[in-house]
């Protein structure tokens, strides 16, 4: 209990003694965790949009006038990347078209007989499989044409890949910078108290007793930095997506409160863990050198 009291008191002392350095570390940790959080949220949103697009992605297969639609449907059903499919008769296709055209549907009367062929509506499991599926479908002799919004999906997919790589690079960079700053802060803190630490070793203080306040100092700074970053992200995120959704309503952002709460907790937890690891490494390295006998 006495040792626990000392550890808490000394952690407070350490934070107060080097308050300028502590404040700088806190700001750096907050900025880095903010960048880390934003890049992760950006990546999450891109993935969310892509998933939505994939769910809505439909490949339209038009059967030749002399082709057997049932045979085409059976062949499509066997393809592994197909999630579901529906055979559409020319009559059904026409009524759908009339429904979509609304008041302009009368134009279709000029054409006379129904010009629409048998078709198959195919939903795929993921966007990446679309080009291969289209090639397979085009190779079928009974298929006249294949129509899909593939280009858009491919672009979003590419964008997602680039965004993910950028986010990952930013993530690693943020971790490296935060780790370095935290490590150096604790190292400076240890170095400035090296004489005191030497005395503590000589009078019989254990390594844990000496080092715990330093580890707690680093953990506390990183934890506070993460909390500041999370509050900053969340207070900007909701107004931000509201604004974007007003101007770009077709985009679907991550806005689930539960998901965002989990994300916030993860970010704070990650920051604190990072602080603990960096401080621990700094302390272990310093103590090992300090304890080494001549």
């Amino acid at each position: 209990m006495t040792a626990f009291r000392y550890i808490l008191r000394d952690t407070g002392r350490l934070l107060m003694r080097h308050w300028v350095l502590g404040a700088l570390t806190l700001v750096t940790a907050a900025v880095m965790m903010w960048i880390l959080g934003l890049t992760t949220l950006f990546s999450l949103n891109i993935q969310n949009m892509l998933r939505r697009l994939e769910n809505e992605l439909m490949v339209q297969v038009y059967v030749k006038a002399d082709g057997n639609a049932e045979q085409v449907a059976a062949a499509v059903r066997k393809i592994p990347s197909v999630a579901s499919m529906q055979l559409i008769s020319p009559e059904d296709a026409l009524s759908k078209l009339q429904l979509r055209m609304g008041s302009q549907a009368r134009v279709l009367d000029i054409v006379g007989e129904n010009p629409l062929p048998w078709s198959v509506e195919v939903r795929v499991k993921n966007a990446a499989s679309v080009p291969g599926l289209v090639r397979d479908l085009m190779a079928m002799s009974e298929v006249d044409d294949v129509v899909y919004s593939g280009l858009a999906v491919e672009r979003v997919s590419t964008l997602s890949r680039v965004a993910f790589k950028t986010a990952f690079a930013m993530f690693i960079l943020s971790i490296m910078i935060t780790s370095l700053v935290l490590y150096n802060t604790i190292h400076i803190s240890l170095y400035s108290r090296r004489e005191e630490i030497g005395i503590m070793f000589l009078i019989g203080a254990t390594r844990g007793y000496i080092s715990t306040p330093f580890v707690l100092e680093g953990t506390a700074l990183a934890f506070l930095g993460s909390v500041i970053a999370t509050v900053g992200i969340m207070s900007a995120y909701f107004p931000g997506i509201r604004l974007l959704q007003n101007s770009l309503p077709f985009l679907n952002f991550v806005g689930d409160a539960v998901v965002l709460r989990q994300f916030s907790l993860l970010l704070v937890g990650f920051g604190a863990t990072l602080g603990w690891i960096c401080s621990y490494i700094a302390v272990v390295r310093f103590m090992r050198a300090a304890m080494k006998p001549l």
């Binding site: 040792a3 000392y6 000589l202 009078i203 019989g204 203080a205 390594r207 304890m291 001549l294």
Partner: protein, 241 residues
């Protein structure tokens, strides 16, 4: 009683034995050479010699700040080289240390400097405060309890260092030139304190350059020269006869 860790008790505590000890610092500075030495429990031993003769190295081997290049150092029945790193703090709690440069924590008061040692051992605060008050009174610093080391004179700082060393009731007291920076009168006061500690049964090993002290308070004298023991006399004087 000398507890290093629960379950590990060293009997015949604080007998010190150096057996064929040699210490070489890189690249090839021989600090100690073929040291064979036995210090009985409760003895008062002066280690004398010129600067660089190996006095501090010898004391550092007892506190396990240094390890011999060759040979063995025993304290009680424990070979210090074989001591596990985790056991060193528990060993040092039974070894009081008084240094020439006092080694006090500058931002703590007299009272806190003494309490701090017991805090590190998780002694309950009330007990620590009681013991601290007693040792501070013993060394005559009762009126300075709230002062910090920079506010004290050299002699007072050394008294504080002795109070801190005594706070754990050690079986062994290592004093590395404790009167090195002090005038004759203050040195006498410090010596009286150390003699009192020794009279209470604590083994005292003290290195010194102070001829007046060695000649006034006659005890066993071990003289080192270039890392070798050249004289070991009971109730000896500073200069060999």
């Amino acid at each position: 009683m000398f507890f290093i860790r629960a379950g590990w008790e060293v009997k015949d505590c604080m007998k010190i034995k150096f057996s064929g000890v040699r210490k070489v610092f890189k690249p090839d500075i021989v600090a100690l050479n073929n040291i064979n030495l036995f210090i009985e429990k409760g003895e008062f031993v002066y280690i004398i010699g010129t600067t660089g003769s190996g006095k501090s190295t010898l004391l550092r081997m007892i506190t396990r700040e240094a390890l011999p290049t060759k040979g063995v150092v025993y304290v009680g029945d424990v070979n210090l080289r074989r001591m596990r790193p985790g056991d060193i703090p528990y060993y040092r709690r039974d070894v009081g240390l008084v240094a020439q440069d006092f080694k006090l924590i500058q931002h703590l008061t007299v009272f806190e400097n003494v309490c701090f040692v017991m805090e590190a051992m998780s002694i309950p605060p009330k007990m620590a405060e009681y013991r601290a008050s007693r040792v501070i009174e013993q060394v005559g610093l009762s009126r300075r309890v709230n002062m910090r080391p920079p506010q004290l004179s050299g002699g007072e700082q050394q008294r504080l260092a002795i109070a801190r060393a005594l706070a754990n009731s050690p079986s062994l007291l290592i004093a590395d030139e404790p009167t090195g920076n002090l005038d004759v009168r203050t040195s006498d006061d410090i010596m009286k304190l150390l003699m009192g500690v020794n009279a209470a049964g604590v083994t005292v090993v003290m290195s010194t350059h102070n001829q007046h002290i060695v000649d006034t308070y006659r005890r066993r004298v071990i003289e080192l020269e270039a890392g070798v023991i050249v004289r070991d006399e009971f109730e000896g004087s500073y200069d060999s006869l």
